[in-house]
Symmetry: D2
Subunit: 338 residues, 4 copies
């Protein structure tokens, strides 16, 4: 941590900062510049309250030198984390495709989707039973009945299953049914939910918040991990920007940035990122080429009748065609796809 003093900071100000830092057993290194003085802090900063320092007279700003996340940090865990699922591994050489409808609408719709997903070569079936919707008047999901349908689809196909959870109660219920819990973008900083997911030990797919920095995203992963659950998969799904041609702006750079800062696997969700099916093939290929460990893609047996997110869903034939194209890119990137 570096403390930058104001232009006119006095010797008393500097002495006060030094006193505050050293009382926690940390060491300081004062460097007087021609314009400003800078105080470097050495030692375990977790004992220090940076807000206290920031409030001291004469302090201009504090610059963090080390990251606030530890368990998610590649520095302390250089090898990539590989997460074991019933029928696949995430984070290794094999790419993992999660596919299925945005919302579970009925047993028939889900089973048709599961067949399409299996046929295309996906390993994990997605399907929302608890749906966070902007308006209270939109379809909100089948809840536990949806989870039951998911479990039946798993029994029928052998696919692993992932469902979004939107409350602590939903975490507890879903834990009885699913192979992976999904935390959605709107709940990325719902810290109580993160802690509840952390207590389960079930793999957690953590979507990036609409306006979350990568640093905040890794801190959200840290909340899950610090409860004893190391099985976190990050999912880039687009960030909010000024551009309106796509629903969100897919931050493809998040893939190499996460790979340089963390050991956790990262997948990409092009469906939510762009919101239009015509761009999904292009963005899926880009994600794999950038180094993602997998994709999450919306597939619906009949997108025109989907109760949510129809415009961004592929139909079974489109999904199959896309998967064929992705295999070629995967091979060129030295990755495998079932």
């Amino acid at each position: 941590m570096i403390i930058v003093m104001k232009h006119k900071a006095s010797q008393e100000d500097i002495a006060q900062v030094t006193k505050e830092v050293t009382k926690f057993g940390l060491m300081v290194n004062v460097s007087e510049g021609s314009e400003v003085t800078v105080v470097g802090v050495v030692g375990d900063k977790s004992k220090l309250n940076s807000d206290v320092i920031n409030s001291l007279s004469g302090v201009d700003k504090i610059v963090a030198v080390t990251e606030s996340y530890k368990l998610a940090n590649k520095k302390f865990h250089p090898d990539p984390t590989i997460i074991e699922m019933p029928n696949c591994k995430i984070g290794g050489k094999e790419l993992v495709i999660m596919a299925g409808p945005c919302a579970v609408e009925s047993k028939e719709q889900l089973f048709e989707s599961a067949d399409a997903v299996l046929g295309g070569g996906a390993a994990i079936l997605r399907g929302g039973a608890y749906k966070p919707r902007t308006s209270p008047y939109s379809f909100q999901g089948l809840e536990e009945e949806g989870l039951q349908f998911m479990q039946e689809a798993k029994a029928k196909t052998g696919l692993s299953i992932v469902c979004e959870v939107t409350s602590i109660q939903a975490v507890n219920t879903a834990a009885n049914y699913v192979d992976m819990l999904q935390i959605g973008a709107r709940n990325m900083q719902n810290f109580e939910l993160l802690k509840a997911a952390g207590k389960t030990k079930i793999p957690v797919l953590l979507k990036r918040g609409l306006s979350a920095t990568i640093e905040e995203w890794l801190n959200a992963a840290e909340y899950i991990m610090s409860e004893g659950n190391p099985n976190v998969i990050l999912c880039e799904r687009g960030i909010r920007t000024f551009e309106t041609a796509t629903r969100n702006t897919m931050d493809i750079s998040a893939v190499p940035v996460i790979k340089s800062k963390s050991h956790l696997p990262i997948i990409v969700d092009p469906s939510h990122a762009c919101g239009k099916k015509e761009y999904i093939a292009s963005l899926s290929k880009a994600a794999i080429a950038a180094g993602a460990d997998g994709l999450m893609i919306e597939v619906h047996p009949n997108p025109k009748e989907a109760l949510s997110d129809g415009p961004q869903s592929l139909d079974p034939q489109e999904f199959k065609t896309l998967m064929e194209e992705l295999k070629i890119i995967a091979a060129a990137c030295n990755r495998t796809l079932l």
Copy 2:
């Protein structure tokens, strides 16, 4: 709702759209342009699934003409909502100031804050008992003990009290202690939490999400109101942009925009918006001049020792001075301040 067809949409495409819309009892008005055809939809759109329409062949985009929120909409409730608190009203001629520490740290710190807040002329004491923090290693709040201290501070000073809630359980606990529940920016789209707050009937202070549009914010209010709780106060606290000179960018325009679209009161939190105490006076005056119904300001008896958000907290003397200045602006705006 207006459905814009693609450049090359066929007569079959248009017929299919018409069929889909009219089967819900709505009427269409087809307008063929030189380049594109546009289909206007008349009637109760709540029966219609716009995603289905969007997925139909030949559809380019859908333009919403009416807002998705009803209860929060000024169109259907032209008179401003005035919310009754034990010791004041929010949304009327009188400006309401909510002030206090970011986090309740101890009984002493809170009582000192309450005295300062009362002395300056605030009507409502704020203080966090449940703290949503970016890092799991930061101070997380005193929880129920903090609520008890708040209640004691109320008994001592006569101030109303407001506390943030971060889970359904916290809503249920806080409902026994506070006069107003606060939903924080990170939870603005935690819909389960919104519904739980809606069930209590206690006034709810709804902070705007870091990257929430005004439309989404009003839809979040709709979640609370649709559960039977009409007592929602909106709070602008800065949005996330590219600018880093301030912690967030305070969207002052939100004040007149909310006043034109909704009947709900709106207050402004300059402390979280800018993150630096030196800008708070300027932004507080701006908020009142723009037409806000009140302010939320961080006050701490000793900001240098605050366990969270110290740099943006005023000390009791600074708060008193600011309040004196604000009275002059309030009078110039034909509003009153205690």
Copy 3:
């Protein structure tokens, strides 16, 4: 300047950094932390190429401690700059209102506007002769003829006049007519244009770029000032964000931030910031309360027939009413308005 080394930086890396810095006569202060080493640099950094340092092996990042602008910096010029115009001063106790049509359309339209502006109490007439328009098929301005009309309006009313310039040639032409040159948001980093405006010594109104940070904005001012023209007035006109309820997001915090970092006057343009006339009164009051030195407001004798930006223009009566309201706020802020 602080150089933060990577986690695994070697002693050779640190030695190389030290060598590179000291060869320009600067001094270093190496601080070895438990996780990373930090190198503080003391001396005149203008000799140093930070990109070279950033490229060295083992360097993680560079943190700037001092600002790159000098002439615009309050540190080296603590007293506020007051700019003398023929009929007023900008940056002192008196607030200066610049008003008029977005574009000069005809002599009649301009003269009517000038009368309205004078009648309302503005000191400076604005009117665009060179219009930067997003589409090449939109009205582009009357060019030199527009400047002549402006000069005639000045002779008739005694108002000072300001016009936007969009090319070096326009700077040279306009310099013969106007009292103030305006650099528009889209040209804020058109550095050749800034230099040309700097060479004239005529006061320059520098609008903030749509996505310019305050730091970049002050550096743009520095370009003008470094050519020998100290007469720069900054103009906040809204930044681009995700919010679409207003045309841009007016960054009200820019007012106190500029006041803390620079000695230059700052005015606010609520018309372009929000794009809708119904919000202008609210935002104008907010700007004055925040501490702005003036306003730029669009006024058109007949907004319904304006060739550009009609929806955000006030008519003469609306302008007069607004000015009456602003006088009350100005007085409450201890400022005067004619």
Copy 4:
């Protein structure tokens, strides 16, 4: 164009809108809804001033149905544009790589770069002679001498050459030396510069502005094309967002969006998008997989001594390695790379 009336618009308001539209020979189609009335406009909107309409009493908003750019629009030019360069074609099956130093610093540095670029398999040498820099105290380029060095490098290697131009004068000078003019991000809406580049007929590489929407970017291309120069190549180089882990956020979706809306070729500049050399390989592969027609990559013989943008430059060996990797991806995408 669709005109949405306000909730309370009167019959007189609607009649006035109809009158205003039809006086330009356009037709209207009035659709009265349960809440609002909508007026569809059919015919050549270029005659209509939407600002006039927007200012009429009772008008809520105008929704554009057709794009404002014509020459750049795929609707009117369905086949992709292929641009002929002396030694390659841009927009066809072959991918084109433009590489070289950010700034031309000396003949030696440029010649070494040119050799590296040629050796790696690039077709076009880039090198800045006019440098737009945020601070006036940074290196500003060698100007015409730099152009001469570029021409010599072309003679020596057979590479085509591209240089950025920052003023009309620079356009006129550069037109004597280069095969392609580059308009930088900061000048994307410097409309006078666009027109000057349009008059030359030389191919123009048009970088996307830092906060430009894709619609604005295509309108900027329209400025060049409407002067008679159809040879525009678009270049995505990252947009400004809240994320700070990368210099800008590379908008990979711009590739498929441009391909669906325009016939112009699009290339991607990962160097400026991310600002860090360690992410360039990942982003280059993603761009090709997404369907880009080429890349612009910074290569410097000795990045550690580059006078600008060193941290994002590859050295000759790194460039060669990257090109080998890209050939594999290109083949998987059915594109060729020399």
